[in-house]
Structures are given as C-alpha cells and as structure tokens.
C-alpha cells in the first residue's frame, strides 16, 4: 500500500473539561476521498483546525507528506500543501473573486514580497486564477467583490482558493453547506474529479454527497472515531445509525 | 511710517488664560496711546509650536509685520523667535524667557520685556535663606522646570530635603505630598504653573501637611488664584510686579485694566503692557524700518512701567526690582500683596555670556 499523505495519530485536544478530540487516529491516502462524519459538536471542525494549525493539539502527532507538521504555524502548513475551506466562508470581502484567488496563486508561488509590479497586470497571477475560477464555475463573477457574492458563490470561491494553492491534500469543512440542490450536484461531480489531483478529507453532513463520493468514511462521536469503513459498512453500522444517521437511507 | 505688530499668543486650549491676559494687557497700552499708526494683528497659536511657526511665517511673509510679540511659552518662543530675528524682524517677548536666548545666543533684535526665566526662582532662593534651613523643592521635568530649580539653588544656601521632578501636566500629587510629609523639610518651594499648581495646592490643603509653601509669582498669579481658592492663602511668592506696588503708573494701570476688562490684571498682563509701551516709545522716536535706530530707542526703555524701575541689561533682558509677596484676601477676592523687596536692580546670570 502506498504511504498515506496525511497521517494523524492519537490526537487529543481539550477545552476545559471537554475533550473535543479524544485520541483520534486517521489517515488519508493518495487519490481517495475520506469522509469524516459525525454529530454536531463531535469535534470534526476542531480536528480540521488542528490539522491546519489554527488550533494547537494537546498531544498526538500530525504527519503530512512524510514530515511531522504538528509544530508548524498555519501559513507554513499551507505552504507545504494543506488546502482548506472554512465551515463559515472566510474571504477577503473587498477583493473581487479573482483577486481572492490571485492571492492564493501568489502564495503558492511564494512571492508576496514584490513591491512594484502591479498584480492585476501580472499574467502569471491572473491566468491561473481565471482557470481555477472557470473550473468552479465562477468565471463570470470574477470581478464581483466577495462581499457581494451570494452564499453559495462564496462556497465555490473557497474551493477555488484551495485549488489555486495547488494543495497536496484538501481539508474541506462542509463544502456543500448552503449550496442549492443544483450546486450540490455540480460540486459533487467536481470533487469526484478533484480526488485525482489530491486526496480530500471531507467533513460533510450532506449524506447524499458523502455516500456518492467517499471511498472511506470515519465516524466521529464525542471526539472519538467509532467506526471507519466503506459506505456500505457505515450505512449498516447500527451504532452509526443511532448516533448520527437516524433513519436516513 | 505705521508700525505693524504681529501678536502670536495662546487663545485656545488649556493655557488660553495666559494668552488672553497677554493680549488684553498689550492692547490696553495701545489703546491708551491713541496712536493710530500702530496696527496689531493677533492670532491664536493653540499652544502648538508648529502652528506658531506657521502664523509667524504668515505674519512675516504675508502681512509684512515689523515686530512679533505675545508668545507665552518657551518652547513656542524657541520655535519662532530665532527664525524671526534671522529674517530681520524684532521680537519683543512678553513672557517666555528661556536661558538659551539670554546668553551666548542673544540677538540684537530680540528683546525681553518680562524677565529672565530664572529671576523669580532666584528671588525665592534668596528669600528662603532667611527663614528656612531645609527645603523640599520641586518642578515639572522640562527645561523651564530645570531652570527654575537651578535658579533657586543659585541663591539658596540651606540644605535640600529633596529635589523632585514631576511629570509635565501631572494632575495628582499625592505621592509628592507624602514625600513632603516624610521629608522633614521646614518649607516647600514648588514651581508648578497653570493647572498643575491649582491641582497641587488644592490637594496639599486637604492633606493635613502644614509645611509652608512658596513659589515663583506665576504659580500664584491672578489668573489662577480664583481657581485655587482659599488653599492659596498665606503662600509666599516672588514677582517683579505686585498689584499694590506704590507708584503712579501702577495705580493707573491697575485701575484702567480693571475698568476695561472687569478683572484684576496678572503678571502676564503687566509684562505685555510694558512690551507695548516699549514699542510705542520707540516708534515715537524712530522709524521701525531703520533697525539700528529703532533698536537704540527700545534699549532706552523710556517708559513708565507699573513695575517701577525698568531698564535693559546688555543682553536686552530687564534689570528690575523683585519682590516677595503673599496671597491674601481683599474682600472676596484673592490677590497678592507685597511683603518685601528682595532684589534691587536685578539682572540675570546669563548676560555675561552675551556678546553684542
């Protein structure tokens, strides 16, 4: 078996008395979509936060592309190829969609300390950015400030940014949230293709999407993984049904 | 030939009271002279050096004034006067008198009609020799404050219990008062102008400490006394002018000022009044455009000063008598009365360095 891109072992994080992450071990292989599901407040976002560095773990290790990144800052992890989206959209509101993506492109190129060349005239920035926007279907809205985009469009923009970073793994926190049925469908198709580029750790409550996409599913409840398996395994797991799925089918 | 005078003084902000007195004293003399050839342009410097410079530039370049005057504060004066005299204009100071302009850097076009910064402190030092053995002295931590204590120590021969520098603009003096209480001093010399002095005196009065206070005149001049209230009673201060000085010019000045403005004059008003008198007297006998002649007329100091004897030293700062005063009440009104004359024909320590 190939080496996992991302490997998390025995991660623990407490907020006061609450153990939000309670010894989580999890990995992500090249080419796969690994879905992370679980009840609200189970600790999924907290886990993502720890992986990308916005929250520091209490103990445990996070290895990415063969290296321990558990001690690095947010920006350094991103530079190494961890791309993420936020559960609540997080963009530069005054910038156009295009410029939001361009920022990611320039970050990827590692060249933010250039003071003189106008970025908007810089084809090495605009072209990759437009390509990405086109891929997520936002090309027509490229010049609209992020603050004026609708909720769904902002979600698309978040994905575009992660794409533009050329990430080696994606951490997507509820990308379907706020997407209409049509948008969800498009996005599902899109993620399906995206996995070839880089594996995806997908946190999502939209079970239709999860079941359609996931190669593997892990179920997180109260900070612990209670089950990991294929779609079929998980669907049938009675513990998962009672803790999470309810009578969903 | 008409004389154009530019008066830059502080008419807004915390120090406006001094500027208002300066302007009023100056204008009283101009008005009394009835001289139609004198034109005074007054502007407010807001107690900001940059603004004072801008106004000075305007007065010199645009209004083409011949003489500048009116600045209350040393730091503003330092911003304006050196460059004004460098451009060939007279500067006649109505109050500010930093040591820097009295010694080696004196200038033929710079006159000071008030005093030299150290004078009043020196007088208190001399006075303190009589009754006090051990003094607690304090002043704000800026050049005028340091000059003040230096001047005081130049004449005071006794022991110092402590020499304390407070913060400029400080409003609470509990810590200093506690030190005074514990210092074993038999007297306190404090130079705390304006609001600082008001705050200190009020707090001192409440503290239960009874060591006598003294200070230079402008800490207890007419503009702040009403605000300090009875807490100021009995305080000894020094001044080159006191309201009750027994001479004709003074009686007339005090009466006229009161009539015109409905309040008692302060030191600042007198100084400005004399500055105006000096200019008037020179203008009567010389053309202001003829710098040499005008300067010579100014140097004669041919005026009847409410201060009594007044003449210029070699550095163009006054030689005058200095008195010790005491705060008293006249009816409901707090004011200073003369206790004794401490210096006669007193000049300053820097004149010897002035080579003109």
């Amino acid at each position: 078996m190939v080496e996992p891109v991302l490997q998390i072992s025995d991660l623990v994080k407490s907020f006061g008395a609450l153990r939000a992450t309670d010894g989580v071990t999890l990995d992500l292989h090249p080419g796969e979509i690994h879905a992370l599901i679980g009840p609200n407040g189970a600790g999924k976002s907290t886990l993502i936060h720890q992986i990308c560095g916005t929250v520091r773990q209490d103990s445990g290790t996070i290895r990415f592309a063969g290296q321990d990144i558990g001690g690095l800052g947010v920006a350094e992890r991103a530079q190494r190829g961890l791309g993420r989206t936020f559960q609540v959209s997080s963009l530069a509101p005054e910038f156009s969609a295009l410029r939001n993506v361009m920022l990611a492109v320039q970050a990827k190129q590692g060249s933010s300390f250039r003071f003189f060349k106008p970025a908007m005239l810089d084809r090495s920035l605009t072209e990759p950015a437009m390509t990405v926007l086109d891929r997520v279907g936002l090309a027509e809205r490229a010049r609209i400030p992020a603050s004026e985009l609708s909720h769904g469009e902002r979600r698309q923009l978040e994905i575009a940014i992660a794409l533009a970073l050329g990430s080696r793994a994606f951490l997507l926190d509820e990308p379907m949230a706020g997407m209409g049925p049509e948008g969800s469908k498009t996005l599902t198709r899109f993620l399906d293709r995206l996995r070839q580029e880089a594996p995806i750790l997908l946190v999502e409550h939209d079970m239709d999407a999860v079941f359609a996409l996931a190669d593997r599913i892990s179920v997180l409840v109260y900070g612990r993984i209670i089950a990991t398996g294929t779609v079929e395994d998980i669907r049938r797991d009675p513990a998962v049904r009672s803790a999470y799925l309810g009578d969903h089918d | 030939e008409p004389v154009k005078i530019g008066m830059i003084t502080t008419l807004s902000g915390g120090g406006a009271g001094l500027g208002v007195d300066t302007r009023d004293g100056f204008m009283l003399a101009i008005k009394q002279s009835g001289n139609k050839d004198i034109e005074v342009i007054t502007e407010d410097d807001g107690q900001k050096p940059e603004l004072a410079v801008q106004i000075a530039d305007k007065m010199i370049q645009s209004d083409q004034v011949d003489i500048l005057t009116g600045i209350v504060w040393s730091n503003l004066l330092m911003a304006v006067a050196p460059s004004a005299v460098a451009q060939g204009k007279f500067y006649v100071s109505t109050n500010a008198a930093p040591a820097a302009l009295a010694g080696a850097n004196c200038n033929p076009l710079y006159f000071n009609a008030a005093y030299q910064n150290d004078n009043l402190h020196e007088a208190m030092g001399e006075y303190a020799n009589k009754d006090y053995k051990k003094l607690f002295i304090m002043a704000p931590n800026y050049p005028a404050g340091k000059d003040s204590l230096t001047g005081f120590k130049r004449y005071f021969k006794g022991e110092l219990a402590a020499e304390v520098y407070t913060q400029v603009g400080q409003t609470d003096y509990a810590a200093e008062i506690a030190q005074i209480r514990a210092s074993g001093a038999d007297g306190v010399f404090a130079f705390l102008p304006g609001g600082m002095g008001i705050a200190f005196m009020k707090q001192y009065a409440q503290s239960g400490v009874n060591i006598p206070i003294m200070g230079p005149g402008f800490s207890f001049s007419q503009d702040v006394l009403p605000a300090i209230g009875d807490a100021a009673l009995g305080v000894k201060a020094s001044g080159q002018w006191v309201k009750d000085l027994d001479n004709e010019a003074n009686k007339k000045f005090v009466a006229d000022f009161q009539k015109e403005y409905n309040r008692l004059p302060s030191l600042y008003a007198v100084q400005a009044y004399d500055a105006a008198q000096l200019i008037l007297s020179a203008a009567a006998n010389a053309d202001v455009k003829d710098t040499e002649a005008f300067r010579a007329e100014l140097l004669k100091a041919d005026i009847k000063s409410p201060r009594g004897n007044f003449k210029f030293n070699t550095n163009q700062h006054p030689i005058q008598d200095i008195y010790v005063t005491e705060v008293t009440k006249e009816g409901d009104v707090l004011t200073n009365k003369t206790v004794e004359k401490i210096f006669t024909d007193h000049g300053d320590a820097y004149a010897k360095d002035c080579k003109m």
Partner: protein, 307 residues
Amino acid sequence: MTFALALEQLLNGLQLGVMLFLMAAGLTLIFGVMGLINLAHGSLYMVGAFACATVAAWTGSFWLGLFASLACAAAAGAIVELLVIRRLYDRDHLDQVLATFALILIFSEGTRWMFGSFPLYLDIPPLLQGAVPLPGGTQYPLYRLAIIAAGALVAFALYLLISRTRLGIRIRAGESDREMIGALGVDIRTLYTVVFALGAALAGFAGAMVGALQSVQVGMGEPVLILAFVVIVIGGIGSIKGALLGALLVGVVDTMGRFLLPKLFVLFVPPSQAGMIGGALASMLIYIVMALILAVKPRGLFPPAHA
C-alpha cells in the same frame, strides 16, 4: 524611607488607581460594551466638572453641583448620541475617531465660549474636608477616601448592570451583532442612546468628583482620556474587572515609580540628576508597563472570554 511612608505611598497608588477607574468607567462602558471609540469621553468629563463648578458656585452646594454634573453630562451624551454617534455604529472605527475628535474641538471651544479662558473654582464639600488619621501615624485626606468609595461603588454597580441584567445582555448582544438584535425585536437604537448617556453621566460624575481635587479648566479631559484608554486596554477591553484591576495597577506603578525611581538613581548619579532621570523614567513608566503587558498578553490582563 520609613515603613509608614511606603505604606502611605501604596495607599496613594491604590487611591490613584480607583480615581483612574472612576475616570475610565464611562469609557469602559461605551467603548468596551458598545464597541465605540469615543475620544470625546474627556470632553464629557470636562462638562461634568464645569457643570459642578458652576452650580456649586451659584448655589453654594457641592452636592447640587454633583447632581448637575450627572444631569448635564448625561444630557450632553444623549444629544451627541442622537445627533452624531447614532450614525456611526455601522461605520468603521476610523470614522468614529474623526467624529469624536471633532467633538473634542467643539466641546472645548464651546466651553471656553461659555465660561471664558480661566480655570474655575471648585472645592471639596465641607463634609469631606480635611484629613483623617491612619494607623501608623500618618494622615490621609478624607476626600480621597470618599473617591475610593465612589469608585468601588461604581465598579460594583457597573458589574451588576453588565453581567447580571437583561439590559446588559442586550447591550452586549448589540455589540456582537447590532442588526440581528434589532431583527429580533429589541429597540437597540434607544438602548444605545441610554447607554451612551449613562457612560457620559459616569464621565461627568468623575469630572466633578476628581475636578474638586484638580483644576477645572478647558482641556482638562485630554490627559484623562489617554490614561483612561491605557487603563482599560491594560485590563482587557470590555471587562469591568479588568478595568478596575488595570487602574489599580497603573495607579500603583505610577505612584511607586514617581516615588522610588529617583531614589534608585541617587545610588548612581548626583541627586539633582537622579531627580531628572528618575522623573523622566517615571513619566514613561506606565507606557512601558503597558507595552510589556500587551507584548506578553496581547489582549490585556483580563480579556473578556471572546476571541
């Protein structure tokens, strides 16, 4: 240096701290809770002191003056809120800075227009005159003890108001999402006017109380403003407890610095020099302390729980 002196200085420090808190209380309320940078806080402080001095001079009663200071400052606050501040909540902090800066100019010059350029007389009420003996043999001004009591009372009342009442909850809700609290049916506009007036009244109260110990003059509010900001920032913005503790810290540090630093330098340089250097350092001290604290705890000593 005797023990009694050190003790007295410590007490002075605490007292200065409470006084600072009194001056900062209104600002904490407006700034910490409504999220509004109100540079004109010092002006409201001045309004309180002038109102008190004027009414006390007319009526001969400090207490009537104190009441007038509350009323005038609250009225001034309410008017300012209705005419100006109200339009600025959903603006950038910077617009608030400019507007309230403009208000400082208007208030200062307006006050001078009405009262002239000379400081006013305001004295401590006869009831609180004089000094009382303290254990250890020294004396302490009664009025300063009264200020300590007033400060403690204000701190306690504010704490209750903000954390325990529904009014406080709504105010804080408005701070976190103004539109939303309105959309839920709370008249946040009027509420904010009331809070602003309350903050102004506190400023006026402080102006009158502290004004009796200082000089009542135009511009008296400006140093207060800076100090009050220092205090609430050190304590952690929006926290009443933080403001109180921050104020005490500043008070003690400042007093002890003024007292001890010159003594420290006497060990190295002549007394006169020591006084200057020590004095210079003492005036920088609270800023140094503030920078150190913020460098280590970027959100102040007691940041309110929110991120």
